[in-house]
Subunit: 229 residues, 2 copies
Amino acid sequence: MASAGVAPVDRDGEFATVGRIRDAAIARFARDGFRVGLRTIAADAGVTAGLIVHHFGSKDGLRRACDEQVLAVLRETKAKALTDGSGVTLLAQMAEVERFAPMVQYLLRSLQAGGELAATLIEHMIADAEEYLSAGEAAGVVRPSRDRAARTRYLAYQAAGGMVLWFTLHGAPASADEFSALFRRYLDDLMLPGLELFTEGLLVDRSMLDEYLMYVPDPPSGDADNAAR
Amino acid sequence: MASAGVAPVDRDGEFATVGRIRDAAIARFARDGFRVGLRTIAADAGVTAGLIVHHFGSKDGLRRACDEQVLAVLRETKAKALTDGSGVTLLAQMAEVERFAPMVQYLLRSLQAGGELAATLIEHMIADAEEYLSAGEAAGVVRPSRDRAARTRYLAYQAAGGMVLWFTLHGAPASADEFSALFRRYLDDLMLPGLELFTEGLLVDRSMLDEYLMYVPDPPSGDADNAAR
DNA sequence: CACCAGATTAAACACTCGTTCAATCCGCTC
DNA sequence: GAGCGGATTGAACGAGTGTTTAATCTGGTG
């Protein structure tokens, strides 16, 4: 298989131009953020700004098309990764393959800017984490929590937010290779402290936690509010 | 004390206008992000766009003045909080006082956008965390780490990044009161999972950590690179 | 009072942005 | 081959942006 959703489908004429514009937009949005002008993207795709709005209606339409494309590729890749078993380091292995680098960068930009895709992405991450953590609990390798949903959300927000902030402060890489290298360095910085914290915790005694539990004996109580946020 | 660096100094004539413009800019930047036009800020301050660049040279000059002001207030408040002893929940208590809400929001916007103030702020947070964690280690309430610097940076990035992402996805509040309420809800969502993770960890056994330590026996080795990043 | 420096304003400038429009090009069908 | 519809273009529009400029106002000084 020469192209599986990432590279633009080569069926001549049909979606050649539209796909080329969309992929160029993803790459350019990922590299320079969502404030780039339509003319820059048009130049990247070798077309005119007018043609973009002819095909996508508006810049926001282009943005939505990019979101859908990235989400589609993410779902497809995730489905493939599940058969391989190692789905946890999904983003990591996506960053390894240079072809996916622009999409990962695009996702980081989306999380940074907020919006619908960002919310959807976080929900995906939370759902995945919920699955893995539940399986881990059942297998006896993950400690149970007093409020599993809250812990899952906490871990997802911390992981995603920390990653976005790290890349924000370490400068946007220009090429896909640079991004892959930077991503590997991020994992290097992350792995030891993360594993340490996850296996040994941070505090020696449990006085702080017990004090909090005494002061706020709030049960999980699965309120409807948690679903919306 | 009627005004301690937060409210614009009332010494008539002198810095009245400049301070008013700067404070209006901080509030407006905090509320709507850094993309707002000078005319909007000017209208908030009751002046003209031209006057702003007359006093601050350019929009970037205004931005720098805001950064310095926020940083100055942060330092001052931190110094005061140190005498009270409870410096850990610095941002929390700052958000409680409605007067500080725009500044905290401004800091979040800065972290989201990146730039010099964001880098400085993260360095501050890392330095503070380093201090508290070291003290905790010495007092025997914080577990030692195989790489203390890396752990400190990890915790700072996760905490700050998670907070920024949370507020990004939960919509920017319009008023200072709303922000305070939202901040309190954020702490509520955060506290239990955080304390749980910090006191009990996440994993039951240490096989993952040991495996990593075996695979990558990299010592801390305090390389010069860590200082710059 | 004359004068001057700084504060302040309204208007204009130059630029970029997303979007619109009329015109052209190209491939297909009758 | 005529004609049609979509792809594509280049230019223009209108609304924004940050910045500049000339003019006006104002308060203190000689």
